[in-house]
Symmetry: D2
Subunit: 290 residues, 4 copies
C-alpha cells in the first residue's frame, strides 16, 4: 500500500501489539521507535492481570517507510514473541456491511463514512432483502440482495459473504442489524473481524425481541451493545455499550425507536475504534485504547 | 395524624390511586377536588395498555382537613372501585433499614434524611453485624445487631423484623445492602413495602458477585437497580436504575468502589419516590410519577 | 384538514393550552372532554410559580370531529381566557429547513422524517450554499440555494424565507446549522416558531467557534442546545440540551466531530417535541411535556 | 517517608512528569525504569499541541527504594529539564479542608476517606461557621471554626490557613463549599494545590446563585465543576465536571438539592485524581490521566 518516500516525508504509523507481560517491553518498543527516527504522538498500554498478557498501541510519526519501520520492530517482535500489527493512521479499512430491512445503522455508517468521520471504505452492502437499495445507492455504494428463504439459500448467502471477503480483501464484516444468526462455520471464518450490534444492554436481554422483554420487565434504561461475533450467540467480547433513560409511559414501539439511536451510534463507535486499531482482545474481554 | 384545622390553614394533600381505565375518571377526581375547595399543584396520570389499569397522582392545596377531603373523594372511590391513598405532602414515612456490614447505602440514607432531602423517619437500623453501630449512632438513630449464624438465628432475625414493623408502625422496609435472602414468608409479609438495592444493572447479572461477573464479561457500563422485593429473587418490579461507564483497566475491587456510588444514589432515589407516593405498581412493572 | 367522520371512528386529539392559574381548570377541561365523549390517553400540567400561568397538554380519543370538539371546549376557553391549540395527534407539521454547508443535522432530520420517527413534512430545504443539494435530493425533498454575498443578498434570502413560509403555510422553521444571524425583523416574523441548534452547552459558549473556546478552556463535557430564536442572540428559551464527555486529548477538530452527534440528536428531539405540541413557552423558559 | 527496604520487597512508585516535547523521552524514561529493575503497571502520556509540552505518568513496581529510584531517574530528568514528581502509590495526601455551613461535600470527603476510597489524610477541617462541628467530630477529624465578620477577621482566617498549611505540611487545600472568595495573596500562596467546587457547569453560570440563574434561564441540565483556584475567579483550570438532567418543574430549592449530589461526587473525584497524581496542568487546561 505504501512505498517508501523521501525522508523529508513523515509517515504516521500505528503499532498495536500484545505479548506475555514482563519487564522491559516498553523500553524495547520505544527503543525500536527511536531507531526508526520516530516520535510518539499517542501511546496506551495495559497489562491484564486476568491473562498475564501485555497490550500496547502506539502512534508514531517517522520518516521511515514500512520496510524500515518493520525492520526496526522485528527484533523486539521476535524477542517477546509479539502479535504485532503495523498500519498507517487513517488508512480506510475495507469493510463489508451485512444488512436486512432496517436502515438506521446502515445510514449512520454510510453517512459518517462519507462525512470523513469513519476511516472505512465499503465496497459492498449485502442484504437478504432489497429494501435498502435506494438508501445505499444514494451513497454510491454497491448493493446486492439475496433472499434467504431456506437453508440452501442461507448457505448461498454465506458463501457470497465469503466470496466477497476474498474478492474485496475485506478486513471487517459489520452486521448492521442483519437479523440472521451466522452459522458456526461463518463465525469461525470471520473470527475477530466481525462486529454485531445487539439491540439490548447485554447481558440483559439476549435473544429476539429485547425491547419487548425490556418493556415487560419495566427497566428504566434501555441500551445497545456492539460485540465481536462468536459462535456462542450474543456472548462475544463486548466492544461498546450505551444506554438511554426511558420511563413507564413508553410503548414497545417507542422503545424500539429510542433504541435505534443507541444502536446506530454504538455500532459506528465500535467500527471506528476497530478501524483505528484501538480494539484488542484479551480472552473474553476487549481492551479499548480510546 | 391530622386534625381538621381552621379553614384559613391550607393542607397539602397527595392522592395516589389506581382503578380500571375508562372515560370520565379525571373529571370525577377533579370534581371531588373542586368540591373540597382544592387547587391542584401537581398531577400525573397513566393508562396502562398492558393491564387496562389507570393510575393517577395528584397534589392538592386545600383548606379541607382529612375528614372533609376523604368525604369528598369517597363517592368517586366507590364509583370506580379505586385503590386510593390519601396522605399529607412531606409527612415522613416510617422506615426500617436492614443492613449488614457495608456502610455506603446506610450513610447515604441517613445523611440525606438528616439534611432534609429524604422524607422518612428511621426508628431503627437492624443489622446482622455490629460493624455499622458507630455510623448509625452518629446520626442518633437506634441500632440493633443480631447475628445470623444458622437457620434458627435467621428465623429470629426475621421475627425481630416483623416485631419492629408492628412496634414502629413501619410503612417501608429498606434493604440497604442487607446481603441476606429473605424467606418467602417475610417477602409476602412485606409485599409492596420492601425495597432492595441490587448491585448490578438487572436483569444483567443476577445473584452473587455481580461485579466479578461484570469484570469477567468486560461490560462497558456497570450499574445498580432498586426494586421491590418479591419471593422471586432479583425479579421484583424495578423502581430505578443507574449506570456508569467503566473500561478494561478496572479491577473487580475498583468496579465495586465505583458501583457503590450508583447503589447509594439509586437506593436513596427509590426511597424518596416511594416516600413521596410516586411509585405505583402495574403488574410486573412500576409507574413512577417523577 | 379533518372532516367529521361517522361516530364509530375515533379521532385522536391533542389539546395544549395555557391561562392564568386558579382552581377548577382541570375539572373544567376534563368536563369538556367528557362532554365530547372523549377518553384521556395522556395528560400533563404545570403551574408556574414564576409567572402564575397554568399549562396543560391533553391527548384525547373521541368520536367527536373538530367542530364538535371545539364547541365543547369553547366555553372553557372563554371562561379562562385560554391560549388553546387543538390538533390531531401525529399530523405532520409543515416545516421549512434552513441550512448552510454542514449536512449532519439536515441528514438526521430527513432520515428520521422518512423513517416515520419525526412527524413533520418538509416542503423545502433552503440553503445559502449548494453543498447539500445531493443529500436533500436523495430524500426527494425540494432544495433551493441562494448565495448570501452581501447585505442585499441577505435581504433577498430572508424575503425568500418569508415567501416560502406563506407559500407552504409553514408552521415551523428549523435552523439546521444555518450559520447566519437572522435580522431582528425575521426573528420577529418567526417568533415562537423558529428553532435553532447552537453548538455548545448554552449559556456556556455563546457566539462563534464554541468548540475552540471549549478546547481552550479545557472543559470536560461538550454539548449542544436547541432553543427558540429571538432577536437576543443565543438567548432564546432553551428547548433541549445534551452533553458528552471529552478529555484533554481531543483536538478542536475532534470536538467538532463529537459535538455534531449531539447537535443532530438535540435538534431532532426539539423538533419532535415541538411537532407533538409538547413545547410551551413560559416567559424566558420552556415547559416540555415529555 | 520511605526507607529503603530489603530487595525482596516491592515498592509501588508513581512518577509524574512534564517537559518540552521531543523524540526519545519515553525511551529514556523506560530505560531508567529498567535500570531500577522496575515493571510498569500503568502508563499514560500526552503531547500538547497547544503548548508543546509532553506529560507522562507511570506506575512502577520495583525493589528499588526512593534513593535508588531517584538516582536512576536523575540523568533523564536533567537531560530533558523535567518537572518530575516521585511518590508512592496510595500514600495519603495531607489535605486541609475549608468549609462553611453546607455539609454535603465535607460529609462525602470524610466518608470516602474513612471508607478507604480517597487516599488523603485530613488533619483539620477549618470553617468560618461552627455548623459542621458535630459532623466532623463523628469522623474524628479535628475541627476549628473562626468567624469571618469583617476584613480583619478574613485576614486572620487566611493567616490561620497558611499556618495550618505549614504546621501540617499540607499538600492540598480543598474548598468544600467554603463560599468565601480567597484573596489574591492566598490564591498565589496555594497555586496549583487548591481545588474548589463550583456549583454550576462552568463557564455557564459564574458568580453567586448559579441555581437561581439556571432556573431563570430554564436550562435542561445542571452541573458542577471542580477546578484549581486562581486569582481569576471561577476561571482556574477545570479538573472535572458532571451534569444531571432537570426539567421545568424543578424549583430553585430542588435544583439546589439535586445539584448538591453532583457537587459532592465531582469534588471527591477531583480530589481523588489529584491525590493519585493524575492531574497535570497544561497552561489553562488540565491533563487528567484517568
Amino acid at each position: 500500500m505504501t512505498t517508501d518516500a523521501p525522508s523529508h516525508h513523515l509517515f504516521h504509523w500505528v503499532v498495536s501489539l500484545s505479548c506475555d507481560d514482563g519487564p522491559g517491553i516498553v523500553h524495547a518498543v520505544s527503543g525500536a521507535i527511536v531507531a526508526a527516527r520516530g516520535n510518539i504522538t499517542e501511546s496506551q498500554q495495559f497489562a491484564s492481570l486476568d491473562t498475564g498478557r501485555f497490550f500496547m498501541r502506539v502512534q508514531v510519526e517517522s520518516p521511515a517507510g514500512r520496510e524500515e519501520f518493520e525492520a526496526a520492530l522485528a527484533p523486539v517482535r521476535e524477542r517477546w514473541n509479539m502479535t504485532l500489527h503495523l498500519d498507517e493512521v487513517g488508512r480506510p479499512l475495507r469493510t463489508l456491511v451485512l444488512a436486512s430491512t432496517a436502515g438506521h445503522c446502515v445510514n449512520d455508517l454510510l453517512f459518517r463514512q462519507r462525512a470523513g468521520q469513519l476511516p472505512v471504505e465499503i465496497p459492498l452492502v449485502l442484504s437478504n432483502h432489497g429494501t435498502l437499495r435506494d438508501l445505499v445507492d444514494f451513497y454510491q455504494v454497491p448493493f446486492e440482495s439475496l433472499a434467504i428463504t431456506d437453508a440452501a439459500a442461507k448457505r448461498a448467502f454465506e458463501q457470497r459473504v465469503l466470496d466477497a471477503v476474498d474478492e474485496h480483501d475485506i478486513e471487517l464484516v459489520v452486521l448492521a442489524r442483519y437479523m440472521q444468526i451466522l452459522t458456526p462455520e461463518l463465525c469461525d471464518a470471520l473470527a475477530g473481524r466481525c462486529i454485531n450490534i445487539h439491540h439490548s444492554f447485554l447481558p440483559g436481554f439476549k435473544g429476539a425481541n429485547p425491547y419487548r422483554q425490556a418493556h415487560a420487565r419495566g427497566v428504566k434504561l434501555i441500551g445497545a451493545t456492539a460485540h465481536f461475533v462468536t459462535s456462542d450467540l450474543d456472548e462475544g467480547p463486548i466492544i461498546e455499550q450505551n444506554v438511554v433513560r426511558v420511563d413507564h409511559s413508553r410503548s414497545v414501539a417507542e422503545l424500539v425507536a429510542i433504541g435505534q439511536d443507541e444502536e446506530s451510534r454504538t455500532l459506528s463507535q465500535a467500527v471506528k475504534w476497530f478501524a483505528e486499531r484501538r480494539v484488542l482482545v484479551d480472552g473474553a474481554r476487549t481492551i479499548i485504547f480510546r
